[in-house]
Symmetry: C2
Amino acid sequence: MLGSQNDMGQMPEPPAPSDGSSLTAHVYDVISEMLLSGALKPGDRMSLRGLAEQLGVSVMPIRAAIGRLAARGALTVEPKRAVTVPVLRRDEFRDLTRNRIHLESWAAALAAQSGMEAVPLRAAEQRFRSALSRDEAASAVRANKALHFHVYAAARSPVLTELVTIMWLKAGPIINLDLGERSRRSRHAASAESHARLVAALLRGDAETASEALAHDIHSAAEFILSRDILPD
Amino acid sequence: MLGSQNDMGQMPEPPAPSDGSSLTAHVYDVISEMLLSGALKPGDRMSLRGLAEQLGVSVMPIRAAIGRLAARGALTVEPKRAVTVPVLRRDEFRDLTRNRIHLESWAAALAAQSGMEAVPLRAAEQRFRSALSRDEAASAVRANKALHFHVYAAARSPVLTELVTIMWLKAGPIINLDLGERSRRSRHAASAESHARLVAALLRGDAETASEALAHDIHSAAEFILSRDILPD
DNA sequence: GCTTTGCAACTGTGATCCCAGTTTTATGGC
DNA sequence: GCCATAAAACTGGGATCACAGTTGCAAAGC
């Protein structure tokens, strides 16, 4: 066991930078990022004490952060059992995908109507393509997330962004499942095509095409997952 | 100060019935219901210790429940200040309303397509009209919520229902603001008309009309709030 | 009478201990 | 060797204490 709090054992990120002035916020960000990036897989188990030691804090901030994630449906915490990353059945994943398409394609339409600045949008798309060409899966995942949420922010609807975030927390562990480098690369390549159509439509204010392109992006990624026999049921 | 835990002081509801086998779940339900029913108004302040004494539990379950509500945007908890019910500005309320219309009217369309059983649906509507005629505001609010979520459940989309629930937690304190008996009654009467159109459309599988009726219900209630000068900005 | 200042009460946050279930591991019986 | 069984390790939930900011009230100064 480690000594008292803040033992500086091997905590990955010191609470100093980017810390939301609260240990709970920091822990929330760390676990949230692990979910969104696919570092946590469906069914993965974690314990409060284990995470506490790992992150170099006591169990209290861990509990609070886990509770918040659980409230958003990103984690499952059964009465006296280990905290787990939810395992979605096929129909649950389909339901999630349907809602993602409905909300995120709408967000794309709103963004197109509001108008977007070309430079940062193209830069975000370029960062994704660049990570793709350099074959860096992890940074491609980050760039993909950044591009999508850049669009959602342009919809100028905080509520919508929040709802989409909640769905991403649920979908992250499944969408970013590492199914081998080959398939991941081809999936990202398909995504790049959707992105190109999306960006072009957004810049010319074509709400309908932007909406359709984003829907296609989500749909094809989901179909890829469903085509493999990964999800139960 | 009360004695030790479970002091049986004046706790409103004993943790025994309907308790989700966890004090936190019970506290969550209680506060959630207070938000949805308008018992809590925007800007209302509450303290962990105050709630703990009031509900007859220690601060721990209160903290967990508050944290979960805050994660869903239903409560605001600033670093070292009192927990408050969020005060939405006009534009924030408009944004929330727009998203509610987009999601809830879609849910109504899905419910119409799935088909609904006539008896329980008509019963739910009747309970609202009955509470209305008996002039019982509180039970009209409950019946209204029950009717709406009866429809959303029929959409058979757990994710959608969850997202809608989150938005109701945000809107509850504003929508159910007590602006005097007269205006509340006329607002509920207007709602009854929308409900009639909604129920009829649902039962004949008319997705478009059902969607439109629900959108109108939300829109008119929101316009009523906006017409008064209650929200800041 | 009005402003300013300081102290006291109150706020959420975090740490630590304890408890009652769960899960796993090892042990004993066959 | 295999299965039932018990004990040890581990799980989250809750209570309590300590702490550092915030808020508000009251007394002092002018």
